[in-house]
């Protein structure tokens, strides 16, 4: 199974731009399926990006974030070749993580 996280991080001058796409249903718990049954809430609660043991981006998410979320941010203090660690946990206790090399 391929990772649920796709990351691209590029250092440009002093800042590193990070883009990520995460595969997750992000069910709100308010939608019914074809049989009329509520689809239980299932969403990412926390998403973090770590660089050199330091959290550079931390997001507390809820059901309002769309399916297969995409995000983009930039931070200072990283160089090309550094490693970025990305992980999420959801409200059902599932999690996934991956690492990406800053290009």
């Amino acid at each position: 199974m391929a990772s649920s996280i796709r990351v691209r991080a590029t250092a440009n001058g002093g800042t590193t731009e990070v883009q990520a796409l995460i595969q997750h249903p992000m069910d709100t718990g308010l939608v019914k399926d074809a049989q009329g049954q509520l689809i239980p809430a299932h969403f990412i609660q926390q998403l973090s990006f770590e660089h050199g043991g330091k959290t550079v981006f931390l997001a507390d998410w809820g059901p309002a974030v769309a399916k297969d979320p995409y995000l983009k941010f930039s931070f200072k203090g990283a160089a090309k070749g550094d490693e970025l660690k990305i992980g999420w946990t959801d409200n059902k206790g599932a999690s996934d993580s991956t690492t990406a090399r800053i290009g």
């Binding site: 391929a2 796709r6 691209r8 796409l21 769309a66 297969d68 995409y70």
Partner: protein, 281 residues
Amino acid sequence: MMRAAGLLALLALLTAAPSTQAADAADPAAEAKAFREFFVKKFPQVKLDDFVNGPYSMNEDMRRQWEEKEEFPPYQFALDAGKEMFSQPFKNGKTYADCFDNRGIGVRQTYPMFDATAGKVVTLELALNNCREANGEAPLSYVKDEMASLTAYMAFTSRGKAMDIKLPDDPRARAAFETGKQYFYTRRGQLNFSCASCHVQSPGERIRAEVLAPALGILNAMPIYRSEWSGMGTTSRRFTTCNSQIRGVPLEPQAEEYRDLEYYLSYVSNGLPVSGPGARP
């Protein structure tokens, strides 16, 4: 007197019928040319190859958003899944590649094609399911998920290749083309829209919050990730949802008329590049 006139008119119609039919059925190549020229003339500012980008060729603001999105496209997961599925062998050890020319790589632009043995139009989606069934696997749903992933991967390997739909010198192929054309221009549904009402008459116009795509090259971008669907959709999904949106009753996915429609629309877009998989709002 009235009856005599009516009879005469009927007679005239009957005798005239065969000849008018022949005159109506213009040469498909000329038809494709006229179809293309219509759009080129209507949108002189749009480059020919850009029509395949649908609403983005029509609207500068949407285009900027899309260009940013394409840096990290939403169909990425489907593409990866499709690539994996494509190489995974069936229970009998064969793969999808065994069913296609050039092992399925870079062949998207030749679909739909007319199958002379079966005497019908075979779309890429149908060919994939035929392949599965020939190898003892259950067919996939035509509208989304696996099927869309597979066609996304196949389209990706053909990106930039010019649409190359062949219309063999076969009356059945010609009839399929005509049926497709007729379906395209026939009004239906409670809203009484034809495909052409939106995609020939009004590309670039808004229909509620959406910007309508031009019919020229509209299938070159298939399959698409639609934010509205929050997922992928195939050509089948596009056709059926278009029909429901005009409050008509959609046909079954891959019904003969839909296949003929795909044949017609792809043929008139010959020469334009494959841009699929696409991303649409």
